[in-house]
Amino acid sequence: MYPYYEQDWSVLPPENNRRFNPAFNMATIRQAFTEAVERVRMPTPTRLRDLIRQIRAARTAAEERAVVNKECAYIRSTFREEDSVWRCRNIAKLLYIHMLGYPAHFGQLECLKLTASTRFTDKRIGYLGAMLLLDERQDVHLLITNCLKNDLNSSTQFVVGLALCTLGAIASPEMARDLASEVERLMKSPNTYIRKKATLCAFRVIRRVPELMEIFLPATRSLLSEKNHGILITGVTLITEMCENSSDTLMHFKKDSGNREIVPNLVRILKNLILGGYSPEHDVSGVSDPFLQVKILRLLRILGHNDPDASEAMNDILAQVATNTETSKNVGNTILYETVLSIMDIRSEGGLRVLAVNILGRFLLNSDKNIRYVALNTLLRTVHADTSAVQRHRTTILECLKDPDVSIRRRAMELSFALINAQNIRTMTKELLLFLEKADAEFKAQCSSGMILAAERYSPTTRWHLDTQLSVLIAAGNYVRDDVVSSTIQLVSSSPVPEQTYITNRFWESLQVANHCEDKQPLLQVAVWAIGEYGDLFMYGANEDEFERPTESDLIAVYHKFLTSAQVSTTSKQYALVSLAKLSTRLQQCVEEIQALITSFGSHLNVDLQQRGVEFTQLFGHYKHLRPPLLEKMPAMQISRISSQNGESGGGSFDDNSPDVIENGVEGGGGGGGGVGGGHSLIESNMNTLGDNTNILLDLLGSTDLSAGGAGDLVAATDLSNAVHKKNSRNANDVAAPVSNNQDLLDLLDLDLSTPTSTTTGAPAGGGGVGGGGIGIGILALAGDNNQSSAANMNNMLGGLDLGGFGSGLDGSASIPTNGNDLASMLGGLGGVPAASAALTTPAAAGNLIDGGHAGSLLGDLNPTAASNNIVVPPQGPRLTALDRDGLLVQLVSVRGNDCMRIYMTTTNSSANTLEQYLLKAAVQRSFQLQMLTPSGSVLPPGGVITQEMRVVATSNATLRMRLRIQYVLDGQQQVEQTEVSGFPEQQPSAAEE
């Protein structure tokens, strides 16, 4: 395809070269003439406007596609033929096609060719195309960098302008580096048109490559003494970016920015703008250059932040702006908004702050939604600085909760949470509950967790707290996060008995409402837990509130409904099943019905429910006598703050994201022989599996019960309690662990039931001569119940499942072994040392327990399973002894992880003293990064163990050495030990660093 004129006829091949055609006669002349006319008449490709018209005329998407495809094919062919006359038009058409969403990448190189053209039209379209079509691909970028470099040196200001504009839009880090010096040169140009553009280019360059800031520093000197607003605003923008980027630069500007100090200089410019009188060029509905004013106010904010002197210097002008700005239009409010932000951020005077909050108060009452939104947003940012001032606007803020606009509602909700305090908790909660009921699904989770958190912090009475918790569970339904379930259970468990009765009844009432069990499963879970746990109080306890009690068969009927409903989740059914088992010991008549219901689960399709069914059925059959002690009431749980994982809350209304920690109270001895509190060990191990932040809290509670045996008969009961899984609710993987956890229980039970003699704790190798006693394996909590739901719920607990009394007690003398110190300490607990608590983390430590042959088979069987899924096991690898002095043994085991080396520190105390406030500090060389996780405890009783995990990331190939400082308090005396450890296995620099 040729354009209608050919520049040089002579170079054409003879058959096309009509000028020298040998067959030169009238016919050929006429033909040539007609052809020429023809070419002149329809020579050009479709015009841009025509194409747009054609495309717009297409009635269907298919038709449009046909037009576009045809045109694209044509454009491609012209590109192939290196047509340069129509390139500009074709690219313009391609850009339109690109905007419609069709691929246009084949035009990238043609754009570059256009930019290299000498015609301004070509350049204009070429750079436009470059800005729209180019991505950050290296090869193309090199080409455009060259084009830009040429044009930045052009003598035409508009060509330079085009190049600067393009650079500002698509500068990649490489381009920024290559062209920074050109930009710097242009920043000093006398031509304001070029200078302002170059200044913004410099801003962009710094954005991409902050190291290049140095180059531009000298050129910023004179920017603020200009009159031209274009230069001023771009200059302020550039300086703002520099100051935000580095504190050194901020100091540089504060000290010296040319002839004058920067703050007075900016104040002067701002003052001129406000008081300078009407200037039509920059006036926007009565306000002089709001764009520049806002930029200056923002820079002042950065300069005055934490700087009393600078703040002092700008107080007056801020007050002036705040009082003198016309507020009837958006422009005025724009400036006021920025002023308020600045006042709040600098060390401003008290009076000024009041002024600022009042401005926001006025904003809240503004009819313009945008202004209201901005007000809420700003109040949220300032609420922590000045709560009382914001409190005055509480009613208005609560009103905003009902706004139809989701943006405003979200802000209002976050602000409401920030405003809750002990005085207004009741009214605020009432309002928020109303909001929660009607809120969209996206708000419910965040709002319910926020309310629970606030209630926990400020609740006036237990009953109010319980009621609120219940209302939240009802209002938020299935959107409630798991943390709310667990915190409610903890709350109920630690409440006084009348409150427990009361709330159980409230739960029962709430379950009567239709659809509650399907739509509000978290409520269902908490409710059945409470009914199961406090069934006796609920049905037969003191009835202070004079509620109506259901009959036992009603109760069972409701359970039957849940357990057979297809809409109820497996997790909820797990709760219900455990609850039902508990009820069997608390109810008086309906035990057969319960048994039938539980037995029916023995063949359930879900493996977990089936397992529960089978296990509980055993408690109705041969081991009937075990049921009451096993299904004892759970001890009161200590309340721990729930944490919330709310990724979406930007307001910072929640404080921490730490994993939940629940401590279980020690179950006192059950028997008549005098209860002896067991040693209870809390194992807490934080583990990161495969990069997810699964926090598994493992509680291995080994407590010993001395129960009703004869004087010489000892029942050593090992309470192996809850391997509690607590995961951050975000994590979905780790499916295997819960299953095998339940396996633990099965193993335990199997073991117990089939070979009771061998499991008798404390039966040493020669287990003969044992008297009648009981072995209680108190399984305080079964962990990891949730196979399906990713969030394992720690509260799904089986309270006090004690399997005991197999008539294989021990001779008192024989039962107290003389081995392993851990065990000794635990049995020391038996002897009446209730405080003995040992923290175990590693199976190696647990192994000590087993070593003595004490409870060998039981723990031996348990440990491998537990270890396989719960405990971070560092058994292999060299064990380095860091310190062994006066019975204090500090050992390190290192394991190489994917991206770091994990070092497990185990401290054991074999002395007879209790060490308190134990603290380990570690230091490594500079080429390593050390992260220390929380230790398992800080008190080391005799025989106690503290574990702590450390993570080391190597940044170079050095050999790791570690300096340890160990502090503890012994008999009130601070002791410090220092030691250095080396000989860790070689660690490669991590992949992330390479």
Partner: protein, 157 residues
Amino acid sequence: MMLFMLLFSRQGKLRLQKWYMAYPDKVKKKITRELVTTILARKPKMCSFLEWKDCKIVYKRYASLYFCCAIEQNDNELLTLEIIHRYVELLDKYFGSVCELDIIFNFEKAYFILDELLIGGEIQETSKKNVLKAIASQDLLQEDETPQSFFDDHGLG
């Protein structure tokens, strides 16, 4: 800093797109689609701001066209509305009571005007007069280099 600006019609057709951040083409399309649907679904009485990903969206409707900008967290939303308004004023002055069709058929001019107002997502000129003057001079330059007789064919037509 403004991250991008989109102009789209009430029917959801994109009329102009200006990106100040380097996104791959696919991402750009996805963002556009998401924002167009979200904004078109909002009722006229709602406020002009949206929180979206880690940035703020400011939009405003002028006749049949929506002007939508993404700005950073600490940028002034209200000022962004003023920038949009300033751009509309400039278009209006340039085209003479601008309508959607003007922007469809002269989209490149709309881009040129925007490029004289903003660079790299920041305002470069606060005087309307200066912006229009720069555009007019560049248009003149374009006309000068195209011989009058050829203009119809050589120009974009």
